[in-house]
Symmetry: C2
Subunit: 219 residues, 2 copies
């Protein structure tokens, strides 16, 4: 598939780009800066070439990346996520958009989930998307470091929410191409807040159980 990662220059983006490239998907790295996007794309291409993996990765401005792709991952910090989606709105027509966005704050030594008035980042993003664009919540709780080690098997669960079963099916398929991730469906988009809240919980566990980078499995 053609997959874009808006803000594809940080955090979980690297792992997703490398792993999806490995199984043959075409990747569009988006950034506010075209130069930065191209630079990062070149780094990913080189990392894969070192392992003898041919890939199809392009760097470009966010709006062009969105236009070029069938699936758009909003891998952007919560404080910039909605503004970025508004900025690329005209490039979104019938894509599947995936939000791993989690608004949270640190107070003292602990992190807290801070949902917007809509109830979740997912619902806030939904408000600015054009009709016809299907939104799926996913990838909130993948540890970036482990994700980027592309030969590492990831025995984690990815919990997803969304209102369109076909879109959730596409996200499930893309996710389970990364061994050994398992997708669990937690219901409609408006149940996303409970997935988003899991991220600061995991961060709080990581703070107290160093050097663990926890992810989650439902057993």
């Amino acid at each position: 598939m053609r997959i874009s990662l808006l803000g594809g220059t940080g955090d979980i983006a690297e792992g997703l780009v490398l792993r999806w490239s490995k199984v043959g998907h075409e990747i569009f790295i988006g950034s506010r800066s075209e130069e930065k996007a191209k630079g990062i794309a070149a780094q990913y291409i080189e990392k894969l070439a070192e392992r003898g993996i041919k890939c199809n990765i392009h760097g470009m401005p966010n709006a062009d990346a969105a236009t070029a792709s069938e699936v758009v991952i909003i891998s952007i910090p919560a404080e910039y996520a909605v503004a970025t989606v508004e900025y690329v709105r005209d490039s979104l027509t019938d894509q599947i958009v995936v939000t791993p966005v989690v608004p949270m704050v640190k107070k003292g030594k602990a992190f807290y989930y801070t949902p917007p008035s809509q109830g979740s980042a997912a619902l806030e993003i939904k408000e600015v998307l054009p009709e016809g664009v299907r939104l799926v919540s996913a990838y909130h709780n993948l540890p970036a470091k482990e994700l980027s080690e592309i030969d590492l098997e990831l025995d984690y669960d990815v919990v997803i929410c969304g209102d369109d079963d076909e879109a959730k099916g596409v996200v499930k398929k893309l996710t389970e191409e990364m061994p050994n991730l398992r997708v669990l469906d937690a219901g409609p988009l408006d149940a996303s807040s409970m997935i988003e809240a899991l991220t600061p919980l995991i961060v709080n566990l990581n703070v107290r159980h160093k050097p663990q980078h926890f992810s989650v499995k439902f057993v």
Copy 2:
């Protein structure tokens, strides 16, 4: 230890009573109805006797159960939890109180976390506790059925929050006496909302992945 279970007649109470009795703790079953509490205590005693396990289980009104114990578990549905704690308030002096309380509602086919204005059930309960009583959040996400099968090993994590390290240590010890539960510390009491929100998420997963009764493990 002397452990009371207020509302010890339902849900996770059975498993906790049976498992803690098995390792020698003295249990006080509380209920609004003394008769009901004594009836349930008799049932638990019989269940354990069938397995040749001697136990020390008593049924009594909630306030007496609280007075008699060092650790008080509020195993009460969210809608009655605060009222019950207010009702037994005068029986609470220096006990450790444990809240597994999760306020949630069902809308359509999905469940949603509905925290009170304080931010979490834990913080709402904290407001009505006397000073000196230490509150720990725990046991929100244990599947009642599996918990009650006392020979079953439970390979789950119990995430706890609280402001008193000694109290959290007691809860950790009591929990890890039930094989193979592992306690993970997720920080201060005011971070409890993220643990509470995990319960409706798990219920939503159970709805869509029958006949699974999920619990959680951080890996």
